[in-house]
Symmetry: C2
Subunit: 490 residues, 2 copies
């Protein structure tokens, strides 16, 4: 067993994150630059994310489909801003065959198998999907078209970090088409609210929903909506985005329909996505110096039973009781750790690192007393539970852990959101106080860029919730009725 400790957050936050990813066995770097291997425990989290989101998407009328991994280079260029946003980071397929070099006997790219038009690996699928949609949509009866895709995408990144920024990542991307701009707007907002619901209800991550500034919006969108979370170092993480694409792509890909009034119109579109990046947000919201902390509602294992014995006769008795105990936890995701080559102490340590919400210990003395020991991962709190109450107490304990994690994260976040009324105050917040600066803003993109350059802080969003009081934009002094969030971000 590997005994390297997890680096404390206070010592090196960035290394702490990498240590959690490693020690909780979530992911690791692969031999391919920037591409991670998602290990079974990390993938089990993603599967739980998928289950919740996919269920909700379908409840709201969406269906899944699958579109090609490869996109003709020319498609990417059809929407001018879109290609600008993605050209710099696309992997390009230029050939379709390898061969053995007749001289060196080495395997080389066959120069004769060069593609006429290069293909890029999808960095996102608007272009390839909308090319298809242009054939599918003829009439208002074909609308709304509500499709989602679960897929891998690839964006070549120079500096990568598991989950947070990887070349290849997994996500879902919704792509809908509507008869009116209003309907597209409604859909974009609805899906942002789904992301907020998922983040808060399941991941126990409080988020601030709002709109992106013009500089920060999606390449090709009319408006981008986002949910922004605060990590434990006070930096922001964009946890999901939803775009009202207007008719930008409809015009680029000729998506038109015959409306009820018998006139032909361009359609209105949205796209929205949430990725494995969210696992990074989960880690950085709840985990501590002992390891990962996973909210019960999304945990691959909610309860781990650790049986305790000293010798073989005890072992038999305890394991028999532990198996009966396991049956009492029907309906929960529960694991009985019956390995006999690890001590209970080693097991505690391992499951703690993996963030299992509730540990249940059972030994000969507990059996005598007709009780078990509950240990909460979030607080470390230990309690003795009568055998007759284990099931109901497990439920209430897990519910309590779920809400405690949310409340704790929210209290932390709220304590780090500062209203600022000048650029100096803004700087102080993002540079010294490690938090979100809420500043009045009605200013130029140039000033926004200047702040980014000087402080590394960007406008994370213009929160939907505003208090209705107006004030002066912190650089231009223009009067405005909204504050925006400036923060450093992942």
């Amino acid at each position: 067993m590997d005994d390297k400790k997890i680096t404390p957050r206070a010592e090196d936050y960035s290394q702490w994150y990498l240590d959690i990813v490693e020690k909780a066995e979530l992911a690791e770097n692969s031999a391919v630059r920037g591409c991670m291997v998602i290990k079974p425990y990390g993938y089990a989290l993603w599967e739980n994310f998928q289950k919740v989101l996919d269920g909700k998407f379908k409840e709201l009328g969406h269906v899944n489909a699958y579109f090609p991994l490869l996109i003709p280079k020319s498609f990417l260029t059809k929407e001018a801003k879109h290609v600008e946003g993605f050209a710099q980071e696309t992997a390009v397929v230029t050939h379709y065959r390898l061969k053995t070099d007749p001289v060196t006997r080495e395997v080389i790219v066959d120069p004769e198998a060069k593609l006429e038009e290069e293909l890029v690996i999808r960095p996102t699928s608007e272009t390839i999907i909308y090319d298809t949609y242009s054939n599918w949509i003829k009439s208002y009866r074909d609308l709304p078209l509500l499709i989602n895709q679960w897929a891998n995408v690839l964006r070549w990144e120079m500096r990568t970090r598991p989950f947070l920024r990887t070349a290849e990542f997994l996500w879902q991307e919704g792509h809908t088409v509507h008869a009116t701009l209003e309907e597209a707007e409604e859909e974009a907002i609805q899906m942002l609210k789904v992301y907020q619901w998922f983040a808060e209800e399941y991941l126990a991550i409080p988020v601030i929903p709002g709109q992106k500034s013009e500089s920060e919006k999606f390449a090709g969108a009319l408006r981008t909506y986002t949910i922004e979370a605060m990590m434990q170092d006070g930096k922001a993480l964009q946890a999901g985005t939803s775009h009202n694409l207007g008719d930008n792509f409809a015009k680029a890909f000729d998506i038109k329909f015959l409306d009820k009034d018998e006139t032909e119109k361009y359609a209105w579109q949205t796209s929205w996505g949430l990725s494995t990046r969210m696992i990074g947000a989960l880690i950085m919201t709840h985990s501590d110096d002992k390891g990962l902390v996973v909210p019960p509602k999304i945990a691959p294992t909610q309860i781990v039973i650790v049986p305790i014995w000293k010798d073989d006769s005890q072992k038999e008795l305890v394991l028999a009781e532990a198996k009966k105990l396991k049956e009492q936890f029907a309906g929960f995701s529960v694991k009985l750790d019956d390995r006999d080559y690890n001590t209970p102490g080693e097991k505690f340590y391992q499951w703690e690192k993996k963030g299992v919400p509730l540990r249940v210990e059972i030994g000969p003395k507990d059996i005598e007393k007709n009780q078990v020991v509950f240990v909460r991962r979030d607080s470390g709190e230990k309690s003795f539970i009568p055998m007759s109450e284990v099931s109901s107490q497990a439920k209430s304990t897990l519910d309590n852990i779920q809400s405690s994690l949310y409340e704790k994260a929210k209290a932390f976040r709220d304590s780090r959101v500062y209203e600022v009324n000048s650029y100096e105050e803004l700087k102080d917040v993002v540079e010294n106080k490690n938090g979100f600066a809420l500043a009045y803003w009605d200013d130029s993109a140039e000033n926004e860029a200047k702040i980014k350059e000087e402080t590394k802080a960007t406008i994370r969003c213009i929160p939907f919730e505003q208090n209705g009081v107006s004030g002066k934009s912190i650089i231009s002094g223009n009067e405005t009725n909204h504050r925006v969030i400036f923060a450093k971000a992942y």
Copy 2:
């Protein structure tokens, strides 16, 4: 609405297949050569496949994980036979950036962003996964390692057909590691049996399980097992394969473990996969000249209710009753087609093309008589069902459709399997009788290749089930105790 008819099988089998794919709205070609778009109805089938298979894999102790899409070229070459098998059909990534040409203003591949080592898009993941495994496996305690991946893969194909042969396809690939050859063999056989169970129990496709010949086995495997199905034109379709990889890849990727006896040993491996190709098998096993036929246990929609009305007052009454009726089908996947711009006849026609197993019609007269009409997709049989029995009758009808489809496919298959005792007889079967030729075989790979060249028939498998009688191999005359299946194949 598009009124082009489905080409009858007798007229052009190949076009019939393409028509079904189109008319049932399963998939379509994309702008990228050989890559298909899987439409919502086709993808819903795949989701049902996934649900059943994923559940079974997990029940047997497997967990899911995710490995990189891209593989360094050098990895592919580590196992000599493996690269030989896949080099000809890999898409190669050579660059990681596009840029705007300063002169022409066109978007071009940035020559400065050339990769030092080319990456190929995974045609299958043995190499990238086993490179990772070599770090994970240290001790016998790490074994068995039972991992599955759901992923897209890409094999450049010159002649493509939706589902059956596409450049990009979706699949699952299991990759397991064991302490002994015997355990690996057991796993490979177990997973083949899972595929057989899935094909027969869910897809109602009878299959013949057996072993591949040396010429036909997976590139890098010790032994390949397969399930072979017969399509309606008598051709074979390989519906799933499971490989005992021996220690070939363990040696190539240095996967060793310290065994209980304290000596270091190479590990033993298996891999097994089933892909979207299986949707092609499903189509070609059950469908008819009217469209797709889907077995109830895998159908995205099991029951469609078509309400029938003549005027608005009838409409209101009938829709109200149809909604009540829908509630009686709780537990089934049911759709109420309440569109008012299609006639009932148009709806019948559409759902027939999509292969929904059971159509339920309800009109004013039925309501008067307190009954509904059931129409089976497989037989076209029509029956009047008292309202009080709709739920129980739906269950028994769907069960009956499921078993009828299997029996019908099996009877067809059995009628086309011929024991042959000479090469002439073999030729007659594959060339004139359009079936499987069961021939004694203990012969050279050269003779196998000769038969392939002369008749296009290949050895589909050496069936596990043999009758114990021996005979003379059809070309060499060698005495042998097994017959093999020769057939043309997809």
